[in-house]
C-alpha cells in the first residue's frame, strides 16, 4: 500500500482552514446515529470523547485505570506551550511551528506541526473556560515561563501540576457528557484487540479487569489514544500500567507503526537507587531555568564525593564543570532534552558522575537562591523540591539535586495521515500514541499541547469526514470478525495461564528493559543493535515457554494483565531495534554512534533519511516491511541543529 499523508494543497498557513472547509460534515440530526469508540482517557482521549459527545455522537470510552481522571497525562509537570505572544517577546504561530520542526530535528511533517501551532491558542482559551487554574500575574492575566529549548516565554503552567489540571479539565468535560448520557464510560477495562469488518475498524475486544470477562464493542469508528510505549524499557517515567498493547494489536491488524526508534530520554529524573526500583520519577525540566548543571572537573574529585570524603558544597567554583554552559554558551542549561541527556551520559562515562552509582549529575540552585532569594525559588519549585526530598531524603535548598536521564516519551507511534487516520480506515490515533508532530525529538511542554490539539480541535473535524462516508447502520457484535477476535484473545490468555514456567513476568520485563537501555537507549550502534535483536527474540521465545502466571482469567488478576502487556513489549522491542538499525543517521532522540560530527554531536543525514519509517506487519516470525514517507520541507530550511 502506498502511504498517502493527505496533506492539503495550498500555502502552509491556509492548509488547515481550507481543509476544514473541504471536510464532509455529518448532519446534526444524523450524528446521533453514529457510534465512536475512544480507547484511553488521557488528554487526547478524554478531550476527544468529551468533544464527540458535545457534537452529538454516541461515545464509548475505555480506560484501564479505575477512573478516567487517572490517565498518565496527569503526571506532566512543567506546562503547555501556546503561541499567544502574551509576553510581547516575538512569539507567533510561525515561530512555534519553526521551533517544533527544528526541535524535532526535521523529521516531522510541516503541515501537521503548523496546525498544532495554529490551534495551540485555542487550547489555552478552552482550558481557562473550563476552570483550569493556570498561574497568573498580579494584574490577573496569565503568566508564562520559558521552557527547555525555547527562546520565548510561551509556556502556560499550573504550579508543577499542569498535566493534572489540564487532565482534570478534560475529565470534567467528559464527566459532563457521561452525565448527559452521550458518553458511556468503561473504567478498569483494557482493549486487547481491534476488530476489522471488510477492512475497516468497526470495534474492539476488551477484558473487564475486575471480572475477566472478554467482550466485544462495535462502533462506526475507533480512536486509539493509549499513550506511549516507554515502558518497553521497564524503568521509565511512565505509570506502571502504561502499555503498548492497543497500539501493537492495531499494528498486527494492519496499522503501520512509524519511527518506533524515536524515544525521548528526559535529562532531569531522580537517579536509580538500586535494583529494587520499580519506576523513575521525573523532575520537571523547568528546574533547568534556574538550576545549573555540573559535575566535578576531575574524576578524582568525583571519587572523593562518592566515598563521602567531601560534600558537593566543599567543591570550589574552579573545580566544577558547568558542562552545558561551557559547551553551549548561547543555550546553556536550556538545551533541548536529547542534548542535555547525551551530555550527562558523556560526563558519567568519563567517570565524573556523582552519587552512589556514579550515574548522576548535579542540578544546583545555590546561585539562584543567592540571586532571587529562597522565597522566590520556593514559590516556583516548592512542590518539586518537596517531592525530591521525600524520595531522596536530601534537601535541595541546602545541597544540589542529583539527576540522571530516564526514558520519558516516545515520539514514534502509529502512523497517521493529516486526518489522524491510520492505514486502517476508520481507525484513528491521537496523542502520544501516534507519531505525528514531534519528529525525532519532542520539545518540553509540547506533549500536553499535542494531546489536547488532537482531542479538542483536530479529531472532532476529521472523524466527521470519515463518518459522513460510511453507513450509519448498527454493526452487530455477532459478526464473525468479532467472534474470531474474541476467540483469539481467549486463546492467548489461556496459553499464557497454562505455561506454568519458572520465571516471573517482571523478571522477563527487567531483562528486556536492560537490553533496550544498553543497546537501544541514549546511544546506539550497529553491533549493539544486532546483538539486541537476537537477544530480544531469544527472550521472547523463552517467555512463551517459561513465564509463570498465577490465578485465572475470571478474576482481578494483575499478573495476567502485566503478562499480556509484556508479551507485546517483547515484540515491539524488536521492531524498535529494526528501526534503529535501519536509520543509520543521528537525529533527535536517536543517536547512532556511527553518525556524529568531530565534536561528538549528532549528525543527520538529510540526503538519505529525510523520511518517516512506517513499518508494516507481515506475520509472525516474519520481518516487518519498511515503507517510506518522504518528508518535504517547503517553508523551513534544513539546518544542523546548533545550540552553541
Amino acid at each position: 500500500m502506498k502511504l498517502d499523508s493527505k496533506i492539503p494543497e495550498g500555502p502552509l498557513a491556509e492548509k488547515w482552514t481550507k481543509h476544514k472547509f473541504n471536510l464532509k460534515l455529518v448532519n446534526p440530526a444524523n450524528k446521533r446515529k453514529y457510534d465512536i469508540i475512544v480507547v484511553g482517557t488521557g488528554l487526547a482521549g478524554g478531550a476527544a470523547a468529551a468533544s464527540f459527545g458535545e457534537l452529538g455522537y454516541n461515545v464509548k470510552a475505555f480506560c484501564y485505570q479505575d477512573s478516567p481522571r487517572r490517565a498518565h497525562s496527569i503526571a506532566a509537570q512543567g506546562g503547555i506551550n501556546a503561541a499567544k505572544n502574551y509576553q510581547n517577546d516575538g512569539d507567533s504561530v510561525f515561530r512555534l511551528f519553526y521551533d517544533t520542526i527544528k526541535g524535532g530535528d526535521y523529521r516531522a511533517r510541516e503541515a501537521n506541526v503548523y496546525r498544532l501551532a495554529e490551534v495551540s491558542s485555542n487550547i489555552i482559551d478552552q482550558c481557562v473556560a473550563q476552570g483550569v487554574p493556570f498561574a497568573r500575574e498580579y494584574g490577573g492575566l496569565l503568566d508564562n515561563r520559558s521552557f527547555g529549548g525555547a527562546q520565548v516565554s510561551r509556556t502556560f503552567y499550573a504550579r508543577g501540576q499542569t498535566g493534572q489540571q489540564l487532565l482534570l479539565g478534560a475529565y470534567s468535560a467528559l464527566s459532563r457528557q457521561i452525565a448527559a448520557g452521550k458518553v458511556e464510560m468503561f473504567p478498569r477495562t483494557e482493549m486487547l484487540d481491534v476488530v476489522l469488518v471488510d477492512g475497516e475498524a468497526k470495534g474492539i475486544v476488551t477484558r473487564n479487569l475486575v471480572t475477566g470477562k472478554i467482550e466485544s464493542h462495535s462502533a462506526h469508528a475507533v480512536v486509539l489514544a493509549t499513550g506511549g510505549y516507554g515502558n518497553v524499557f521497564f524503568l521509565s517515567t511512565n505509570a506502571m500500567g502504561c502499555n503498548a498493547t492497543a497500539a501493537w494489536r492495531a499494528y498486527k491488524k494492519g496499522a503501520y507503526f512509524a519511527n518506533p526508534c524515536y524515544t525521548q530520554i528526559h535529562p532531569t529524573c531522580i537517579p536509580v537507587h538500586g535494583d529494587q526500583q520499580s519506576k523513575l520519577t521525573l523532575m520537571s525540566e523547568s528546574l533547568r531555568n534556574d538550576g545549573r548543571v555540573w559535575v566535578p572537573k576531575e574524576q578524582s574529585t568525583a571519587e572523593s564525593l562518592k566515598k563521602g570524603e567531601i560534600k558537593p558544597k566543599d567543591i570550589p567554583e574552579e573545580e566544577r564543570d558547568y558542562y552545558l554552559e561551557r559547551i553551549y554558551p548561547s543555550f546553556g542549561n536550556l538545551v533541548p532534552r536529547d542534548v542535555a541527556s547525551r551530555n550527562a551520559k558523556n560526563v558519567c562515562d568519563e567517570g565524573r558522575g556523582v552519587g552512589e552509582t556514579g550515574l548522576a549529575v548535579f542540578l544546583d540552585f545555590r546561585d539562584a537562591i543567592q540571586r532571587d532569594g529562597k522565597d522566590v525559588i520556593e514559590a516556583k519549585y516548592g512542590n518539586l523540591f518537596q517531592m525530591y526530598e521525600k524520595i531522596t531524603a536530601d534537601n535541595p535548598y541546602e545541597t544540589p539535586m542529583m539527576i540522571y536521564p530516564a526514558v520519558h516519551y516516545t515520539m514514534g507511534g502509529i502512523w497517521v495521515d493529516y486526518n489522524l487516520q491510520t492505514t486502517i480506515p476508520g481507525l484513528f490515533a491521537a496523542g502520544e500514541c501516534n507519531f505525528s508532530d514531534h519528529g525525532a525529538n519532542r520539545l518540553g511542554a509540547s506533549a500536553l499541547m499535542q494531546g489536547l490539539a488532537d482531542g479538542y480541535f483536530v479529531l472532532p473535524y476529521t472523524i466527521g469526514n470519515y463518518l459522513a462516508n460510511v453507513s450509519s447502520a448498527k454493526i452487530s457484535t455477532d459478526h464473525e470478525a468479532f467472534i474470531e477476535a474474541e476467540k483469539a484473545v481467549e486463546e492467548r490468555i489461556n496459553k499464557l495461564l497454562n505455561i506454568n514456567g519458572h520465571k516471573t513476568v517482571d523478571q522477563f520485563h527487567k531483562e528486556l528493559g536492560k537490553i533496550m537501555w544498553d543497546k537501544c537507549g541514549m546511544a546506539r550502534n550497529e553491533k549493539g543493535l544486532k546483538e539486541a535483536k537476537k537477544e530480544i527474540k531469544q527472550l521472547r521465545l523463552d517467555y512463551w515457554k517459561n513465564v509463570k502466571l498465577i490465578g485465572a482469567n475470571n478474576e482481578l488478576n494483575m499478573t495476567l494483565e502485566k503478562a499480556l502487556r509484556v508479551a507485546d513489549f517483547l515484540e515491539l522491542g524488536e521492531l524498535m531495534v529494526d528501526d534503529a538499525l535501519n536509520r543509520r543517521e543521528s537525529c533527535g532522540g536517536h543517536f547512532r554512534e556511527e553518525s556524529q560530527t568531530e565534536e561528538g554531536e549528532a549528525k543527520r543525514d538529510d540526503e538519505n533519511f529525510t523520511y518517516v519509517s512506517a513499518w508494516e506487519y507481515k506475520g509472525a516470525e516474519k520481518e516487518a516491511q519498511l515503507h517510506k514517507e518522504i518528508l518535504e520541507f517547503e517553508n523551513v530550511k534544513l539546518t544542523q541543529r546548533s545550540y552553541k
Binding site: 473556560a129 523478571q507 509463570k548
Partner: protein, 254 residues
C-alpha cells in the same frame, strides 16, 4: 550500602467483593530504606509468585504521587505515617527496622472492597458527573485573557484543585464523609469567574449526589485535612457550606 530492614506485614486479603476477608502475616527481609512502600510490596509479591501464591493486589499507577490511584491504609492511617505524601511516595526509611506494619484497604461503605487492598471509588466520579464542571463546549469560548482573575483567587483555586481524588479524606473520617473532596471542587470553581454562573446548581447537585452515595456527615474533626496527601484545607469545607446554604436559600432552580 546500609543493610536493609526486616518487617512483619499484616495484610488484608480478600478474594473478591463477596468473600470474607482476613489478615495474613508475611515476613520480609532486606528491604532497602530507599525503596518506596509499593516497591516493598512488589518485592513481597515477586516472592509470593515464586512460591505459587496469589500476589497481594493493590491499586497503583503513576508512583509519583499525582494520579491518586494508590489507596493503602497503613498502620491505621491513610497513606501511612508521613505527612503530605501518598503511599507510593512513602519510603521505607519512615519505618523502624523490625517494625510490624498493618496494611488495610480504605474502609468506607461507599468504597466497597473489590479485592485485597483494592476498593471501588466510582462514587467520586459520579459526584463530579453531578456538577463538578463548567458547562462549556469545545470551541465556544473567548480569549483566555479576556477575564482577569485576581492572583489570590487563582492561587486559592489551585490549592483546591490540587485534590487527586484518592479518597484518603473519606478513609480518615470516622463518618466516612466526602466533604473535603466535594468542597475542593466546589471551592475551586466558585473562586473562578468561569465557574460562577453554575455555582448554585453545582453545590446543590454535588452535595445531593454525595448523600446518595452514602457518605457520612461532616462533624468538622479535621481528620480529612490532616491526612490529605495534598494538604487540602478545611477552609474549603467552610466555603462549601456557605455555597450550599446560599444556594439552598436563593437558587431559582433546584
Amino acid at each position: 550500602m546500609e543493610k536493609g530492614h526486616s518487617h512483619t506485614l499484616k495484610v488484608w486479603r480478600q478474594k473478591d467483593a463477596i468473600s470474607k476477608g482476613e489478615f495474613k502475616t508475611y515476613k520480609i527481609d532486606n528491604v532497602s530504606t530507599g525503596s518506596s512502600f509499593l516497591e516493598m510490596l512488589d518485592i513481597l509479591n515477586e516472592k509470593l509468585l515464586e512460591k505459587g501464591e496469589d500476589p497481594i493486589h493493590f491499586d497503583h499507577d503513576c508512583r509519583e504521587g499525582i494520579c491518586g490511584t494508590c489507596s493503602l491504609y497503613i498502620n491505621g492511617r491513610p497513606h501511612g505515617p508521613d505527612r503530605l505524601v501518598t503511599a507510593c511516595q512513602l519510603h521505607m526509611r519512615s519505618f523502624k527496622d523490625g517494625e510490624t506494619i498493618t496494611i488495610e484497604p480504605w474502609r468506607a461503605k461507599s468504597f466497597p472492597v473489590i479485592k485485597d487492598l483494592i476498593v471501588d471509588r466510582s462514587a467520586f466520579d459520579r459526584i463530579i458527573q453531578a456538577g463538578g464542571f463548567v458547562s462549556v463546549r469545545t470551541g465556544s469560548v473567548e480569549d483566555a485573557n479576556a477575564i482577569p482573575v485576581a492572583k489570590k483567587n487563582a492561587d486559592e483555586a489551585m490549592d483546591a484543585a490540587a485534590c487527586i481524588g484518592c479518597g484518603a479524606c473519606v478513609a480518615a473520617c470516622k463518618n466516612a464523609s466526602a466533604m473535603l473532596f466535594v468542597s475542593a471542587k466546589v471551592s475551586q470553581l466558585a473562586l473562578l469567574p468561569q465557574g460562577k454562573v453554575e455555582r448554585k446548581q453545582r453545590a446543590l447537585k454535588m452535595v445531593a449526589q454525595m448523600e446518595e452515595e452514602g457518605f457520612g456527615a461532616c462533624t468538622n474533626t479535621g481528620a480529612c485535612s490532616a491526612e490529605c496527601p495534598k494538604g487540602i484545607e478545611l477552609t474549603h469545607i467552610a466555603r462549601l457550606n456557605r455555597e450550599y446554604i446560599n444556594a439552598s436559600l436563593t437558587a431559582e432552580e433546584k
